[in-house]
């Protein structure tokens, strides 16, 4: 006792000093507590109950309170508290449900003072009143809290939480009568010690047990709670309803929480499991601990600030059987190791960037991310604290959204819908597609289309130098085209047209007057018949026919015939081109003529079209006007592969279709088929059935075109015996009757059969049509008023 008082006087000069130090305990500690003058610490656990003196350099064991040959369970402490007024008074909570007080002033070896065995289950917490000497509060697993007057033999009042086990009880620092209790079911209750019948207030603070709570030493309204749900929450209790004002998310369940003295926003936590560190948080900065103490090797079970008014010393006890004094200046500062800047790509190509505000504040264009999740603060600002070395923190998060058109698949759908793959002259298709791509903000694709047009268009155009002229001329093109097409679709036979295109060689074209727009246009048209465009045009014509029923019906047989002869024509066309041996030779010659550089230039064009556009247009005159389109084929092939590799199979297929025979031979069938299949698959996933069908129709791979032929069968049943007709559509195998007889001529209908949906009579299309022109009744005589529309 003498020694103790001496130390006390030494400290009264308010000069706590020390260093980070530790000592080994004999057993794991469950709780620690410090006496008011910060000179001694008591450590309690299942098998330990000792008092250590805190000296300058080391811990010195002062007293072992665990005495007796066979210590009873009363010594097995779950919690301990040193009275803050009376320096000789200690209280412990025993795991067997006993509350024990200890008087250090007792002369005997056994310092046990009083024993209360009123609780039926483990007592989790004891708490002395901060200003009242004889008042002790306990909270137990059995769900009761008891208030003891140490001058009496038993409790003076019992508080029933009406819910599960009590995990923590804490007297308010400022309100004399108030205490808080936290429960295993997640509730926190506020009680007035004068009213044991009912709690003042209750609220649910956490999901799962609330292991601890702590009143703010200065601010009377603040209560910090820590729970198994890994959160530390700070509640403002001054308002009617407890309001959560801060929330810190830790990485493990929170076992203890203690406000840091003299620092309004700081609190220390340690965890129940897994994580062994002690963290000191600035509650305004909930995502990174302000300081960390990493000394312990097992979970920390007790933390206490050494002195009520000194924020620099923290004591801790742990399951690893050590007792530590941590100096704040030795703490690890995670902030120092944290990344000062963050950069991350979102799923849809959005870019988020966080950095110190000062770094990006100069950027005028920056705007805060709108509608962001509240949990991710956009700005975090902390006033510079002169007393702490905590770095000035204010950072900003910017989110750069990539253009919607380019990062979503919208462009794909739009492109697929807007692209023209056939039905117009080649150059026009290219221009149209280039325009579509440009509007969708895909300059590279757009330029590629323009390039293609230049490469494969009629060399005659080259005689009118300069791209500007080309463009202006293109403006007039549609009219001419529609005219010529009509002419061909209806009047001209394909044979004759072929003849014409064959007859006119390139050389001829050049001799034509460049000024004559009409002719040059016509030439262009002819040029296209050599390519796939010719075929494509016919397809277009078919589509038109299909659309117009009347038309198709009038020319029933003829259209059919046309349909069937078409493929042959396509073959012929192809042969025509193959027969023409001049192109490759030309290529050779040209290659010899033009320097290698030109090839390189063109290659560059593919990859970075924007830059090389001008190059090409300038270099055009360099080439002889006879430069055949096939010269570019290898480059185009590479370009297509490039796009396909990039994942833009749409581009590859579109170009393939538009270029048609110009390029088809250059690419092996398997690759083509692969591209087609991928593109069609994509289209179908986007439910672009029409486009997909068009692509199938326009493709020249047999494997693709046959897709359209699959499952096109229409099953019909016999009208007599109701059995399915398997063999022929017009005679039933079973009843040997003709199923579909024309109501007008009474002959079997073997071709188109039309019937009334009202009376189900019908017959030859022409017959019915004629019949209904003159009569309104059904030809079968059923009396139904049929109608033909």
């Amino acid at each position: 006792m003498e020694k103790m008082s001496r130390v006390t006087t030494a400290l009264s000069s308010n000069a706590i000093s020390g260093r980070t130090m530790f000592c080994h305990l004999d057993a794991p500690a469950n709780a620690i507590s410090v006496c008011r003058d910060a000179t001694q610490v008591v450590v309690a656990g299942r098998n330990i109950f000792k008092i250590y003196a805190l000296e300058e350099e080391q811990f010195v064991e002062k007293l072992n309170l665990r005495v007796g040959r066979k210590p009873s369970l009363n010594f097995s402490c779950a919690d301990v508290m040193w009275h803050q007024m009376e320096e000789n008074l200690l209280a412990t909570a025993a795991t067997n449900g006993a509350v024990v007080t200890w008087n250090l002033g007792k002369p005997s070896r056994n310092k046990q003072d009083q024993l209360f065995t009123e609780h039926k289950r483990t007592v989790n917490k004891v708490c002395f009143h901060p200003t009242e000497v004889y008042m002790l509060l306990s909270g137990s697993q059995d769900g009761f809290m008891k208030c003891f007057d140490l001058r009496k033999k038993e409790s003076v009042s019992t508080f029933s939480g009406q819910s599960e086990s009590v995990r923590d009880v804490q007297f308010s620092m400022k309100d004399y009568f108030t205490f808080a209790a936290s429960f295993e079911n997640g509730n926190v209750q506020l009680w007035d010690i004068r009213r044991p019948d009912r709690y003042e207030r209750m609220f649910t603070a956490h999901t799962g047990p609330v292991f601890c709570c702590d009143w703010h030493p200065d601010d009377r309204g603040w209560l910090a709670t820590g729970g198994r749900d890994k959160m530390v929450k700070v509640w403002d209790m001054t308002t009617n309803r407890a309001k959560e004002i801060y929330c810190v998310q830790t990485i493990a369940s929170v076992a203890r929480v203690k406000w840091r003295p003299e620092r309004k926003f700081h609190l220390a936590t340690c965890s129940m499991m897994v994580d062994h560190n002690i963290y000191v948080w600035d509650i305004r900065r909930p995502f990174i601990p302000f300081a960390t103490f990493e000394e312990h090797k097992d979970v920390t079970t007790g933390i206490v600030w050494r002195h009520q008014h000194d924020p620099h010393f923290l004591l801790s006890g742990s399951k690893d059987s050590t007792l530590y004094q941590h100096m704040f200046k030795d703490a690890t500062r995670p902030v120092d190791k944290a990344n000062p800047e963050g950069l991350c790509f979102g799923l849809f190509g959005d870019l988020a960037f966080a950095a110190k505000e000062s770094l990006i504040s100069s950027d005028a264009n920056r705007k805060p991310y709108p509608g962001g999740d509240r949990r991710y603060p956009i700005f975090f600002f902390k006033k510079p604290d002169q007393t702490e070395q905590f770095a000035h923190v204010s950072s900003a998060l910017s989110v750069f959204e990539t253009d919607l058109d380019s990062n979503r698949m919208d462009w794909f759908v739009k492109t697929a819908q807007l692209y023209l793959l056939s039905g117009k002259p080649f150059a026009e298709l290219c221009d149209h597609n280039a325009k579509v791509a440009r509007e969708l903000k895909r300059p590279q694709v757009s330029t590629t289309w323009t390039m293609l047009r230049i490469m494969f268009s009629d060399p005659a155009n080259l005689t009118t130098p300069g791209p500007n002229h080309n463009l202006s001329k293109l403006g007039t093109l549609p009219l001419m085209n529609s005219f010529s097409m009509k002419e061909m679709g209806s009047g001209m036979g394909t044979e004759s047209r072929l003849e014409r295109s064959k007859g006119e060689s390139r050389q001829d074209n050049i001799h034509l007057e460049p000024g004559n727009m009409h002719i040059s246009n016509n030439n262009e048209e002819n040029e296209e018949t050599e390519g796939s465009e010719g075929q494509a045009e016919y397809m277009f014509g078919d589509a038109e026919l299909d659309d117009d029923d009347l038309y198709s019906m009038e020319h029933d047989n003829q259209t059919e015939e046309q349909e069937y002869t078409l493929p042959q024509e396509a073959f012929q066309l192809r042969h025509e081109i193959m027969d023409n041996p001049s192109a490759p030779e030309h290529l050779q010659q040209d290659k010899a003529d033009s320097p290698h550089v030109s090839g390189n230039e063109a290659e560059v064009t593919c990859l970075t079209p924007i830059e090389s556009f001008s190059l090409i247009s300038i270099s055009q005159p360099l080439f002889s006007p006879h430069l055949p389109a096939s010269f570019f084929c290898p480059i185009v092939r590479e370009m297509l592969s490039y796009y396909a590799e990039q994942g833009d199979v749409q581009m590859a297929v579109s170009v393939l279709i538009v270029l048609g025979d110009r390029i088809r031979k250059e690419i092996d069938d398997l690759t083509q088929e692969h591209w087609y299949m991928s593109y069609i698959d994509l289209l179908q996933r986007f439910e672009l059935w029409n486009v997909s069908n068009e692509v199938i129709k326009l493709s020249t791979c047999s494997a693709i075109t046959c897709l359209n032929q699959a499952s096109t069968t229409l099953h019909i049943n016999c009208s007599n015996c109701k059995r399915p007709m398997s063999n022929k559509g017009w005679i039933c195998d079973r009843c040997h009757q003709c199923a579909s007889v024309c109501a007008v001529c009474h002959h079997v209908v073997k071709g188109l059969f039309v019937w009334c949906q009202g009376c189900s009579h019908g017959g030859h299309l022409e017959h019915i049509m004629n019949w209904l022109k003159s009569s309104t009744h059904c030809p079968a005589g059923c009396g139904h008023l049929c109608e033909y529309t």
Binding site: G97, T117, T122, F211, M273
Partner: protein
């Protein structure tokens, strides 16, 4: 009532010959004519449990809306409603929690692949020779694409699973021997090693199925109709009943055994209640010294050892099951055997609420929460009734049962007076508990009937739930503590 329709098997044997042998009611005749040549299997047992008369178990058609919903959910998830669920149907609140947990463990997100989960279930159930669970999960295992070769025995399973065998064995019978070295061996085995998350999943599965095996035996669950031993094609020998009568449980129910013990043990419940009341009252008067308390735990521990499982009929495991585990001789050895001293597990130092939960939830999110709910549900479940008496606070009795089971595993509650156990649990009940928890395969109908004779079946099932959950938590605590020790 019959929910599962057995797999129809085509056999060459024509049904006319069969129908000639015994009487068949017209309805059945019509049916059998319809399914010409299809033999309909007939359930062997009467109802889902051998111990409980079928008519006492809830009828699927007569349950309230809530239970109905639970059962429907279970059926939707599994495509069956097993006998376990039917028996648990006495306690729908618990059943819901149980099924949710089991469904999550087997079907939902988790570190282990589906067939691994079922295989682990097989391993665990086989440890207790629980053919019911093994058969159930063999089917499931094959259904999720498990390799049938594995079913030939653990040797054929991947190395990784073989290593789990040791953990399975210790956990099932002597969990207190589990050390962090065991864990380390599993986690550091090069290419066959387990990840922590996988291990937690496996541990939860193992403990779940160990305890479920206890329940299965404890309630005498009869095999599912589609499993081995669950059905027969042989016609019943009694001629006065039609097949359908027997299948529907109209057969000769054993009414006689209810009457048997009634006279001699009447008042059993009253005695028990009186004791509980006494304990409640005189707790404050008779203050046992600390030493006394400590010795009481030791005494209960040693005494639990002396409670020998009465029937020592050596049941040889059927070959089918035994191939799933090795070392069949390894069984429960009493915790407090002389010679080897294992330190007592203090629940205050490592409890499920504080420590186990955090660990599980960290490594296998959501499961911690579900188990926590399930434990609480089992522990707190009460209807405030005892046999015919109403408004009884049974918490003391439930706590005694729970703590007695933990005591058998060497887990001690500092704040519990183990003297209470002696007061509340009589010998035949202790025998039942001990058998069910430690070697469930030896549970017999006689044991089931000899304890708490006046209590209702639903209450006995309640006891079984308590036993099952307490056992699971005990095993889990040991396993999780070993893992925690490994991690620190």
């Amino acid at each position: 009532m019959r929910h599962a329709v057995g797999p129809a098997e085509n056999v060459e044997n024509n049904s006319f010959a069969v129908s000639g042998l015994f009487k068949i009611c017209t309805h059945c005749e019509r049916l059998s004519k319809k399914d010409l040549g299809v033999r309909i299997p007939r359930p062997l047992g009467n109802g889902p449990s051998r111990f409980i008369p079928e008519k006492e178990i809830l009828q699927v058609s007569k349950v309230d809306a809530r239970t109905q919903a639970i059962i429907e959910d279970a059926f939707a998830a599994l495509g069956r409603l097993d006998n376990i669920s039917l028996v648990m149907g006495f306690h729908p609140q618990y059943l819901e929690s149980f099924l949710r947990t089991q469904h999550y463990l087997l079907q939902m997100d988790g570190p282990l692949s589906l067939h691994y989960r079922h295989y682990i279930g097989i391993m665990a159930a086989a440890r207790h020779q629980c053919s019911y669970l093994v058969n159930l999960h063999v089917n499931d295992f094959l259904q999720v694409g498990g390799d049938p070769k594995w079913l030939n025995g653990l040797d054929e399973a991947p190395q990784k699973l073989q290593q789990l065998g040791e953990l399975n064995k210790i956990l099932a019978h002597r969990p207190w021997l589990l050390t962090k070295e065991h864990i380390e061996r599993l986690l550091k085995a090069e290419e066959h090693s387990w990840s922590l998350a996988e291990l937690i999943h496996a541990v939860v599965l193992l403990t779940h199925y160990h305890s479920l095996a206890s329940f299965t035996f404890g309630c005498g669950i009869t095999p599912e109709i589609h499993c081995d031993g669950g059905h027969t094609f042989r016609p019943p020998s009694l001629s006065q009943y039609c097949v359908c009568d027997i299948a529907n449980g109209n057969g000769h129910a054993n009414h006689h055994d209810d009457l048997l013990g009634n006279q001699e043990v009447c008042g059993e419940v009253e005695v028990l209640m009186e004791r509980m009341k006494q304990l409640q009252e005189c707790r404050d008067d008779e203050e046992a010294s600390q030493e006394e308390m400590a010795t009481r735990f030791e005494r209960e521990k040693t005494e639990s050892m002396l409670v020998v499982t009465a029937e020592d009929e050596e049941c040889v495991p059927s070959r089918d099951i035994s191939r799933h585990f090795e070392d069949p001789s390894y069984g429960y050895k009493d915790f407090s055997r002389r010679g080897e001293h294992v330190p007592t597990f203090r629940v205050q130092d490592y409890s499920w609420e504080d420590h186990g939960f955090s660990l599980v939830n960290r490594l296998y999110p959501d499961v911690g929460q579900m188990l926590d709910e399930k434990f609480q549900m089992a522990y707190n479940l009460t209807y405030n009734t005892m046999a015919t008496h109403k408004d009884v606070d049974t918490s003391m009795l439930r706590r005694a049962i729970w703590n007695y089971i933990h005591c058998m595993f060497g887990i001690r509650y500092d704040d519990y007076d183990y003297g209470e156990i002696n007061q509340l649990l009589d010998r035949s009940f202790k025998i039942y508990i001990k058998t069910m928890v430690c070697s469930p395969e030896k549970t017999t109908k006689r044991m089931y009937e000899s304890f708490w004779r006046q209590f209702q079946h639903s209450e006995k099932v309640h006891v079984n739930l308590l036993l099952m959950e307490a056992r699971m938590q005990a095993e889990l605590l040991y396993a999780l503590r070993a893992i925690t020790r490994y991690m620190t």
